[in-house]
Amino acid sequence: MSETPAVEVVDLTVRYGQTTAVDGVSFAAASGQVTALLGPNGAGKTSILEHLEGYRPRSGGQARVLGLDPTKDHAALVRSVGLMLQEGGIPLGIRPKELLTQYSGFFEDAADPDELLERVGLSHRSRTTARRLSGGEQQRLSLALALVGRPRVVFLDEPTSGIDQEGRELVREVVAQLTGDGVAVVLTTHDLDEGQRMADRVVIVDHGKVVADGTTAELLSSGEGDEILFAAPAGLDTASLSSALGGRVGVVSPGEYRAEVTPTPTNVAALTAWLAERDLPLGDLRAGRQRLDDVFRRLTANTAAPEQPTGRRRGRRSR
């Protein structure tokens, strides 16, 4: 990409007292693309986003949004940036239409509140107070609020969390429209499927550091493409199995293994035969193409502290 990226982060560090939440993160997000910051809870995704939104000062490094400094140029940036907080931000006594009308008064060329409600599927709820909206409806209202000022950059913190399937599709649709209009969308998610579905570019963050960065296709073709993933009791004799299969067998997590062999029927048969000889159960067999889930787990497995939830857990935030 020859043009300047909408968001550029170089060696960003954010500390809270003694805790380093973001530790030398670098990435760029282009206009017209969805960039997903993907990682387990507590990885530092929200801290990165909140620095770019102007809420948190940085302790080191550089960050530019539309060429401006998120902290120093906050007053100028808020005109061109839309955002969705991870939670809250909406007064419970307000009605959706009132909220969007209120914010539309803050911008020179605001989007029409009715149109926005239509876009996020809340037209029929325009006169219901926020208190009476479901969690998913509140999320969609929050998304509409991000779009009031016709932003050029949109930051969405866990936009699909707590949303039902229909709502998720709606969010994806809205995001697709935005990128179609040339808007840069930066979102965080701990939901790998969601990241894979929505993002053009994925930045995997763990313990405040970037562990991988690339297009979804790049990440999926990275590493050892050929593999068989399976679940079996923990403490398997991997050395013996490795020699039986003719390829290395590694432990992904206790009870989960990856055999680095071509997923041919012969190899799968060899695996099941080896297990059968030892009277061991087999679960969750998957052969062939890896998913983002696998890439993510491989990348974060080495550094994951015991108390950190893994990426697979679909943690629902409390509200």
Binding site: L85, G105, G149
Partner: protein
């Protein structure tokens, strides 16, 4: 200007929708005014109880609008991330503050008009010191508004709710609004003069009761509060 008006309109809408706040802002002062004006049990020190009670409830109305309503409302807005979200909009803090002040003043004007109207119906004959009474009301708004925002900006929403209501009750009883300061035990009255309620009441009653004047200590105490409380709020207020 458009942004300020948009925020002001929202603030007014939200305030008018909070029934419990309307009760504190208007219901309680009205109840005290009507009840104790017709049931003469308070040692008001004036010939007609309404002559003492009317200026007293005008002071009470200022305290409830600027401390209780503002403090509780803003405290919950902070807890729910409403202030955080506004911080990422082009509204900006100066216009946010201006909208809050305009809203409180609007509520106070409505309160005063209703209370003055009812008091006149009850036979109130005020002295003519309206200019000093209004000045006292404005200083009181600054003092109590500062206290309300100080609580809202430093305490969790529910704690602000409890603290503002508790303080309201204590100051209602010791602020000379319903019971004259002279009737309180000496030490209590002495402490009360250092708190913001008693000086506010003194300025308004001193201006509006025939044959009275405002004691000097009241202006000093009220002015100190009117400066110190907003300064403390501005420096300690946390937006998240």
């Amino acid at each position: 200007m458009r942004a300020l008006l948009s925020q002001y309109r929202t603030e007014l809408t939200m305030s008018s929708r909070q029934g419990e706040q309307l009760l504190v802002s208007l219901g309680i002062p009205l109840l005290i005014l009507v009840f104790f004006s017709t049931v003469d049990v308070l040692p008001t020190g004036t010939e007609e109880p309404v002559d003492f009670l009317a200026p007293g409830v005008l002071a009470l109305a200022v305290m409830s609008a600027s401390m209780v309503s503002l403090g509780i409302g803003t405290g919950f807005e902070r807890s729910y991330g409403v202030l955080k979200r506004l911080g990422a909009s082009p509204l900006g803090r100066p216009r946010w503050t201006a909208a809050k002040i305009l809203t409180i003043l609007t509520i106070e004007v409505v309160q005063w008009l209703v209370l003055i109207g009812v008091a006149l119906l009850l036979g109130w004959s005020p002295a003519g010191g309206w200019a000093t009474a209004v000045l006292g009301g404005l200083l009181g708004t600054a003092a109590f508004g500062g206290l309300g925002l100080l609580m809202a900006g430093t305490l969790p929403g529910l704690t602000t709710l409890a603290a503002a209501n508790g303080l309201y009750l204590v100051l209602l009883l010791t602020g000379g609004m319903v019971v004259p300061l002279d009737e309180l035990p000496g030490p209590v009255a002495a402490v009360a003069k250092l708190l913001p309620a008693a000086p506010l009441t003194e300025v308004i009653t001193g201006s509006l009761i025939e044959g009275r004047s405002v004691a000097g200590w009241a202006w000093v105490s009220l002015t100190v509060w009117a400066v110190a409380a907003p300064v403390a709020a501005a420096s300690l207020f946390r937006w998240e």
